[in-house]
């Protein structure tokens, strides 16, 4: 795999939050057309990684680089990253009372495209996507995430992703808190978008979503590093055995190297 031509490259990434290092040298390369899953127990650094990649101001990249389409995005504002084709589906999306989903989506699409979107085109697109994700029409007029149920929020995240059509999408625990129907719908949304040009990084605690979204590569995150990588079978192993054995092996190896 040629790193230079890759869609998304994370190289020796270190991230600190309020002076505490959480991500401690993470490497990952995602080619166009690939779906990667990062799995990890609580407090392994999953959300920190997602926030840092999107450019949250409180998540400081202290070392390493992140390349999107061959260019570094470190130091760029979140909106600049988005305009370059990066997307983050949030685990806990924020409510913005008074701002309707439809206005928000249109502003976002205009920003990402860099030009106005014809009303008719936008409407058609929105309608089709909402049908696909099985959300009610009234959804568009509701305020962003305001009073949304957990499931509605996650659908709204996937709706945004589908409208914005990012080249590289990161999904941060999009499966958490979903019942099986909602999970299936959300997965369909992701699969509908997947093609040989896009990359996906699916961050999750559980293997469940990976029954519906088939990853090409699975990585296990622990203590801010990827401690093991493999194919889809790795997810099943984890499901069966839990994280303990892997973590144990990792700790032992660390002990040896020290």
């Amino acid at each position: 795999m040629s790193k230079e031509g890759a869609l998304f490259v994370i190289d020796n990434l270190h991230v600190s939050v309020e002076g505490k290092e959480i991500v401690k040298g993470l490497n990952l390369t995602i080619e166009r057309g690939e779906i990667h899953a990062i799995m990890g127990p609580n407090a392994s650094g999953k959300s920190t990684l997602a926030h840092a990649l999107m450019g949250h101001p409180r998540y400081e990249i202290t070392k390493g680089t992140v390349l999107l389409k061959g260019e570094s995005i470190v130091g760029l504002k979140p909106d600049e990253r988005a305009r370059r084709g990066l997307f983050l589906a949030f685990q806990y999306p924020r409510a913005i009372p008074g701002v309707s989903m439809v206005n928000f989506l249109r502003s976002a699409l205009r920003a990402v495209r860099g030009s106005d979107v014809p009303v008719r085109e936008f409407r058609t697109m929105l309608q089709e996507t909402m049908e696909l994700l099985k959300v009610d029409e009234s959804f568009a007029r509701r305020y962003i995430n305001d009073g949304f149920s957990g499931g509605e929020m996650k659908r709204a995240e996937v709706l945004q992703m589908s409208i914005l059509q990012p080249e590289m999408a990161i999904l941060d625990e999009t499966d958490s808190g979903l019942d099986i129907d909602a999970l299936r719908t959300v997965a369909e949304g992701i699969n509908a978008l997947a093609n040989d040009q896009r990359g996906f990084l699916v961050i999750t605690h559980y293997q469940r979503i990976l029954n519906y979204v088939r990853p090409d590569h699975v990585h296990v995150l622990f203590d801010g590093r990827i401690i093991k990588s493999g194919g889809p079978e790795l997810a099943h192993e984890l499901e069966a055995e839990g994280y303990e054995r892997l973590i144990g092996e990792y700790a032992a190896a660390q002990g040896v190297s020290k």
């Binding site: 979140p78 909106d79 913005i96 009372p97 928000f104 920003a111 990402v112």
Partner: protein, 468 residues
């Protein structure tokens, strides 16, 4: 189109602060005295009762101390002001007869278009006089009176005498006394029994002469079963010395009638905006105050509703925006004097660049007013660290059987909200605008579309720091 015009104005570096060269045809001498008050009454050829009302009010004004609470008013210099100016000789009926320089000012505000599109009549106050007042014929046919207050004193003296000063007597506070002594202009509206006025009535006020305070007086009488929506919009030019706006508004809403009074004002940042607004609601009547306060140096305004008879309902929906050097001290009063009366107060404020917004309110329920329900909700949004918001709610509840709620929130435009919007490609400034516009949406959506658009535009200008 209004929009295009506004865009041009903005690109000119417009700050709602231009002023045409003001050419008052006449003004009284600087400062306030018996002589000045008599001169005002004389120029207007007022009847003796109005002259007496003014002089009595002047005496009260001289005895009353400045308010001992609330914002700092110490730099108001009452001796340095002019209390009356006349820009044009007579009230004009036809737009084409309005003097050119005045018309230019209104053109720049987009008024003619506004009028054509929406308005039943325009009472636009220029300096201290109404120069343009157009009443649609249908209104007068059904007996609705919509004239400037000076005309009302001449043509409908009995109505004016019967109601003026009944809700806000001169002795109510220092500035109501001042207004009563030197008032000029304002609107008079009378809606006969059972008449519903479907189009909003609108007046546009504007201060345009240095040091001229504006003391308009508005009186609305809604007879049983009637309805009217009155809108006042104000923008003002910027001057270097302090200006004072001290208005009095009285709204009488009789059995089963409903009055909505909407205000969008954007005084320039040197104006002290001290307004007494009060309404009385009789049996099953409804009063609604929708109040958007941008601009001004200091605003003190607490629209009050006296719920006089059973079944009366009152609502106050207010929005304040406090930018650099500004103190918006606004709120509402609901005074429940009868059983089964209800009130809802929603106050929203946005503070930025060390601006200060305060909510000051009163809910009063007298003993025996059983089954009263009142809810107050104050939401403050702070855009930066130095900005400030305070809440001063007063509750005087002397009846056990009353349901009263008060809720206050203060929030900052959160890092997380901004990050969320930015992660969708929206740049920080636009993201901030979206959050603020969303915050004020509950107030904005209550305004007619044109005003909603203008209010949003004013807020955007404020956010960009383009408003002086």
């Amino acid at each position: 189109m209004t929009d295009r015009k506004a865009a041009d104005i903005v690109s000119d570096g417009y700050k709602w602060g231009f002023h045409d060269e003001a050419r008052p045809l006449f003004r009284t001498e600087k400062g306030l005295s018996r002589k000045v008050v008599e001169e005002i009454a004389g120029i207007k050829e007022e009847p003796q009762w109005m002259r007496d009302f003014r002089l009595r009010s002047l005496e009260i004004f001289e005895k009353k101390p400045m308010p001992g609470w609330g914002p700092d008013l110490s730099s108001i210099n009452l001796d340095e002001m002019y209390y009356f100016a006349r820009a044009s000789d007579r009230a004009e009926r036809d737009w084409k007869d309005v003097p050119d320089y005045i018309r230019r000012t209104f053109d720049r505000l987009g008024i003619p278009e506004a009028e054509r599109k929406f308005l039943a009549g325009v009472g636009a106050q220029y300096d201290s006089e109404v120069v343009y007042h157009n009443i649609r014929e249908e209104l007068s046919k059904v007996g609705v009176i919509f004239v400037d207050m000076d005309t009302a004193v001449r043509e409908y003296p009995d109505l004016v005498r019967q109601y003026m000063g009944t809700l806000v007597p001169p002795a109510d506070n220092k500035f109501s006394a001042l207004n009563s002594a030197v008032w000029s202009g304002g609107s008079f509206i009378y809606v006969p029994e059972g008449v519903r006025v479907d189009v909003p009535l609108q007046a546009y006020f504007r201060i345009n002469a240095e040091n001229i305070g504006q003391f308009e007086r508005t009186l609305i009488i809604a007879e049983p079963g009637s309805f009217v929506h009155y809108i006042e919009g104000c923008t003002a030019p910027i001057y270097t010395t302090n200006s004072l706006h001290a208005a009095v508004v009285e709204v009488i809403v009789k059995k089963g009638a409903r009055v909505r009074y909407s205000t969008v004002q954007n005084w320039s940042n040197n104006v002290y905006n001290l307004v007494t607004k009060r309404s009385i609601a009789y049996e099953d009547a409804v009063v609604e105050w929708v109040d958007g306060n941008l601009g001004s140096r200091t605003t003190m305004k607490y629209p009050a509703i006296v719920l006089r008879e059973p079944g009366a309902h009152g609502e106050v929906l207010s929005l304040s925006f406090a930018g650099q050097g500004q103190h918006q001290d606004t709120g509402a009063k609901a005074i429940h004097l009868a059983p089964h009366t209800t009130s809802v107060i929603t106050a929203k404020s946005v503070s930025k660049d060390n601006g200060r917004a305060s909510y000051r309110g009163l809910v009063k329920v007298i003993r025996g007013a059983k089954g009263v329900r009142s809810s107050v909700r104050c939401d403050a949004l702070l855009l930066d660290e130095g900005s400030r918001s305070d809440t001063y709610p007063t509750m005087e509840i002397d009846e056990q059987e009353a349901t009263i709620s008060h809720e206050a929130t203060v929030s900052k435009v959160g890092e997380e909200q901004l990050f969320y919007l930015q992660s969708r490609g929206i740049a920080e400034q636009e993201a901030t605008k979206m959050i603020v516009n969303g915050f004020v949406e509950p107030v904005v959506k209550e305004l007619p579309m044109e005003y909603a658009v203008e209010l949003n535009r004013l807020i955007e200008l404020q956010l960009e720091g383009a408003v002086g």
